[in-house]
Symmetry: C2
Subunit: 151 residues, 2 copies
Amino acid sequence: MTKTSPSPEAIAAWARLVRVSRQLVERTEDALKANGLPPLAWYDVLHELAEAGEGGLRPFELIDRVLLAQYGVSRLLARLEADGLVEKLPVSDDGRGQTVRITASGREMRRRIWAVYGACIAERMDARLSAQDLKTLASLLGRLRDPPASD
Amino acid sequence: MTKTSPSPEAIAAWARLVRVSRQLVERTEDALKANGLPPLAWYDVLHELAEAGEGGLRPFELIDRVLLAQYGVSRLLARLEADGLVEKLPVSDDGRGQTVRITASGREMRRRIWAVYGACIAERMDARLSAQDLKTLASLLGRLRDPPASD
DNA sequence: TTCATATAGATGCAATTGCATCAATAAGGA
DNA sequence: TCCTTATTGATGCAATTGCATCTATATGAA
């Protein structure tokens, strides 16, 4: 049987984790808004598509990468396409699906978001923890991933 | 002038932080739903009100504690009240405001949520990191708080 | 007192999200 | 081939959230 009662240390670490990450994300979203830029989720998708290169990605491949539900990806892509940041291509060997590719203005938008996003990360992470501490933090967090081997 | 370009270590730690906390919270929300229980936000409010005791809290005092916007608190309290989990009392020396107090069924609901929530924390934190590592994690996260002294 | 400003909380409306389901194609067994 | 089931992606509808604004009371200066 599984342990059902968390230790005080686990509770404290959990509370910090949830609270701090929410604060960090929220402040970053605020910074983006203040600069008239779209939400972080847009960056995530543009980033994945930029990494994927010319071949693009199928929408279902984005689901795990950006941690969105299927319908979330579907609608986010619709908005990105409406803004001309991505383009959808039919895929030859599967009549159901499509391939999504980032456009030139998509890359441009990604750069503009990163200018703000990257500054937030530098300001809130580099300015507060040493490179060594950042590595330790990433390593500890890595052990909390679920399932333990993914991400 | 402020540094605007984050280190690779900062980017890696940030990515892990955001991703892991989202996964953890999402899976906890799923567990609550699977047990027919309300979202985590309800627990947060019930927890704060339980800690506050008989005196209760003013709605505006909940804003920073549960990291919700003013209208978010207003509407969440309305739902909690509709479910009989909290009660609103007029406050004598300020005709604008009210005091919110947890009810008996509110305390009961808090217990029922904790049975699931606490198990999630134990399973995802205690089972993966030692008490010492949990302390280290909490300490590193503490340095990311903003402003550095609050929380 | 009187008026300007600040604070507490609620709410109309638009945008977003979640849930359930749908349509269309694919895959695989009888 | 035919039929059942699985997969891909979209969408109608309800619930939630964000934004802007509103009402009501409080506070403080003139």
